[in-house]
Subunit: 355 residues, 4 copies
């Protein structure tokens, strides 16, 4: 943190003790144009960053103390932009105060991703800030970048909706998807369940295990539907069956859609390649190549693969990304870069270590 320019943006991470919060702080501490001025936490308040995240013990921010999250005024006094990494339901209570004080907010929970009417059914609460909810912009930079650049409040997408919407939206736009529901089969590493402990996410229970969870009522379902409407203008029903697999990081979403008459493997691959030709973080694979989530770990890159099965007129799009980076902290920084007028890829790794 030596060569700090005088005018850096001050940012807060509210909810810094979880996995997404930890990755956010790690990446922000390497960002040349921002300064982390506030770290907030619930039960970890009072401890230092290095104590809460031992992997950050060598970070320049290691000795920074986490402060309680119940004082919004302290956050908006300390920072021009705040990332909220709180449990679902908490940021819709906190964020309005920050926003009223003029701060920009990027929310990593589900609190600003849906329409007000969807919250009781899918998240189990009545939305307490419907005025701000209606102003929130869905933070998928490759598809909604202009709106994000001008937003005060951005709802950072869920890990599974990101590859699904990136994969399907251009194909809808090009008329390559026919009528009918979209079936999305998800596979995720265990870090998607967060840092809180439970028997089902213990090593002993998860190693050697492949199992579905929360199907067919996962809260990413309506998010996928709404994001497809926002990004592609289509109203399409989605069924989503996520599965836990024994790895720490990474999600793979395999989408089965009805192929339209003009769709072939050639046309769908070219459509996606054209849609993302200038994008630094979307890699559309060539015909015959297969995505591998391992090549996206600890990067902001998403890999997309598509083909058409003529025997069943099924269009298949498969997307892979790191749920904690492109599916959370990395995408949040990408959104921040847009909101602050910075180069969109600043401080975001693109190339993965291997193996």
């Amino acid at each position: 943190m030596t060569d700090t320019p005088s005018a850096r943006y001050r940012v807060a991470v509210v909810g810094a003790s979880g996995y997404a919060g930890g990755e956010l702080v790690r990446l922000l501490s390497q960002h040349p144009a921002v300064e982390v001025t506030f770290l907030g936490a619930g039960s970890s308040a009072g401890r230092t960053l290095g104590e809460v995240h031992p992997n950050l013990a060598s970070s320049p921010l290691a000795s920074m103390q986490l402060r309680p999250v119940d004082d919004p005024a302290a956050v908006s006094a300390a920072a021009e932009l705040a990332f909220c990494c709180l449990p679902h339901g908490a940021s819709s209570s906190l964020a309005p105060s920050l926003l009223d004080d003029g701060a920009k907010v990027i929310d990593l929970a589900g609190d600003f991703r849906l329409e007000a009417g969807d919250y009781p059914e899918w998240y189990g609460f009545e939305h307490p800030a419907q005025g701000w909810l209606s102003k929130a912009v869905y933070g998928l930079p490759e598809l909604l970048g202009e709106q994000i650049a001008g937003a005060q409040l951005v709802a950072n997408p869920g890990c599974f909706p990101t590859p699904v919407v990136l994969g399907l939206a251009p194909l809808f736009g090009a008329g390559l998807i026919g009528e009918g529901p979209i079936r999305v089969d998800g596979k995720t590493g265990v870090s998607g369940a967060g840092r809180a402990t439970s028997e089902s996410t213990s090593f002993s229970a998860s190693d050697g295990s492949i199992r579905p969870y929360r199907a067919p009522l996962h809260q990413h379902t309506p998010e996928m539907e709404r994001a497809l409407e926002l990004a592609a203008g289509v109203s399409s029903a989605v069924v989503f069956v996520p599965h836990l697999v024994p790895t720490v990081r990474g999600v793979v979403a395999t989408c089965y859609a009805p192929a339209s008459a003009g769709a072939s493997t050639e046309t769908v691959v070219r459509c996606l390649q054209q849609a993302y030709s200038g994008e630094p973080f979307v890699r559309v694979l060539e015909l015959g190549e297969m995505v591998d989530v391992k090549r996206t770990i600890a990067t902001n890159t998403v890999e997309l693969q598509a083909f058409v099965d003529p025997r069943t007129t099924t269009l298949v799009v498969i997307g892979a990304l790191d749920n904690l980076i492109k599916g959370a902290a990395g995408q949040a920084i990408q959104n921040m870069n847009l909101m602050l007028g910075l180069e969109v890829s600043t401080a975001l790794p693109k190339v993965a270590a291997y193996p």
Copy 2:
């Protein structure tokens, strides 16, 4: 091996050096009514069982020598029933000689699972024994047990078709599945790729990796279609996208089918429970329970779960099993038990160690 009855059946394992062959020998060596009298192998011929499979070094068969597989007469002289665990394409050359000599054969490769016309496209060879092919019985004991009991040649099913067909056939039979293609999303552990080494199945490449493979042209696709026809009398197109996930054993198949008007989560669960109420190796989960492949490892048990998503009129059936047992060696022994008139569950583990 103390309390051996005098009149045990003599069996051969031709292709004993791979993973399925090894598991077959392990289970057969604990079977009270059979005696393993011949072990065959390709490049491992001449070595002992304990050398080829160090986990069997304490087995009573450890010092038995593997013999070459190119002398069918030696096999049929030694055994009344032969398991063929050879690479696809090899058993259709070998098995006819054994069958002509009067031996019973259970083939674990794909050589006798399809109709003759399918081989060039899906397996890349012209079938050399179409006469025997037409007499082969598809070895799914819960659905085709009577035919298996009377068969001389049984085609042991592939690991993925087993849960797919067990899950879908009764629902087709009950009219709970509507018109339209079936989408099958598969997840498999790495042992499904066999014992031969390759860079993509190395630990370094596979740990941390989730990736599709051979989609949409995996050879289990036509097998699922044909087995559904044999077991349920339906002609339904299937698209199949398998994925490799970082575990050794186990497959999970998630099937997305159009729900018919009468289908609900309640009706589909009850239909499956009724279909398999007397079956020792099929466990249909209650509403709300989720399959976990970990509970099937090293057993012959398959877990089935089903629900209907009314938002998209999608019927979802999920099946989980151990690819090397119920998906290969265990099911082969289950078939053998039927063919030899033995109690069907003899020598087949049902309850898994955990965790």
Copy 3:
């Protein structure tokens, strides 16, 4: 459970809800000479075995209800022999009542493994039942089988002391180990930490992690020293550094001892092979072979390997076993078989599934 002889031994598992308890019940339910008549649990009391251990949902005992552990009279009324799988400190309170009632007890905790004076330092409590403690027999069947056969109370060994003592005792007896401390480096899978959840044993924290724990004050240290005294009559100081590695089951103990003048790789291997030549569960590897814990999983087998490094006059013995079977539930059943006069290997798997 069909061919039950009329006079089977009635056994209790007190503490059936953990991993060792679950494996014990699974193995006992396949034992031809015993009947499980009591299952006890703490907070899981009132639930059925199948609910507490979903892997046992197909077991004949699945619907048996777990009862509270606070009524010793109920246990001794129900069973002639009780396994105690309670947390350290709990069985020394419970067991005396059972023993006073005449029941045989096999304790899987550390409560009866040491001498009274060691408990305050290593386990943090004053031993409440020193009379029974002095009558307890250390349950290492290969070395102390005669005493076990006549015992009313057996202290089942810890997972790490088992391979260490099996590996070292015969070498001490043959004078192949010189003066000086023994250094034991342990590696264990995560199931050794039990079923209780903690952040450090979550999948996300443990996958990709190799780390020492509780060194140099692990409570298996004095147990190794005392067991070496009991089994080999030597008084040797041990330092023990265990490490957690990312696998579920299995421990490997690598012991570094001073080689005596007569020790060579040849002599130490032959000494161990001779010591265990008639033992069904100890496999001493040939020169040049390396142990692999994977070959012991879900079996009661221990693999031992030994060599001498003349450059440093170091004798190295490496032992590998499944911590939940030979390191807990399997060894407990082996002890039970001895105590009840049954064939020692009854109901104990010897050959592992692979891979």
Copy 4:
């Protein structure tokens, strides 16, 4: 590669197709002061970097073609400094030509780490370039930085010797280690075996496995002894028993040494903390903290922990690092930075992603 300064150093990676080579290229492509001008390979020559390392498909060097390694003149024409990542035995044939042409060389194999007389016994070949061997500097920057800065040929240390020597050398220097052999117990992830495939490093064989290998004759043994002599001036015999554990990256070395009279946990921790107080890549843990290799993955950081067991007068030092970074490619770049007069930590990650 846009803002390239005019005067960057030109570097070659000879042997770019393996894991260490791939990581080297990935890190070098992000280094502001060097330009990769030559990539060499054996059987992969003719393919592009992106084809050989699909994780680098988005790298600016992705389309660079790998060239054959058999033309030293092409290498020295293209580069001022060459990294040799060839199999043991190959760089001692190639490097002399490069060195004679005036190029600097950093060798990542074992070819320049020992004295000439050790090669026949430990590597199985007679050293072909003993003149250059005698000029090689052992590349452990924290201990031999000055010599490295002036060297033309640097032998990059092996992955295990690095933590062992970093951990022990200052303690020897402070007189805290007594007389007697050092026992080193190693645990390594599977990537240490390299990219070449073998049955034992397949996912199916390595997952769930803990096993020793090549003990007690691993070629890192004499390297540890010699490096301790170079760095601490002591002549101490080492026995080394490495074990494979189921993770991809990371090594943990647990060293058991005789404690001298003055050694206590307090003194050994303080000694190491003082020795490395200014070093960016060595983190000495506080009393009671335990190393975790997971916190070093994809970084150049090594974690060190030390304590004394007074019961056995044993001093234990445990070191953890990423075998491909601090144990190979990262340390090589650290050496390059010293040799080229650049800031030592340039382009080297210090803080790990987590979990």
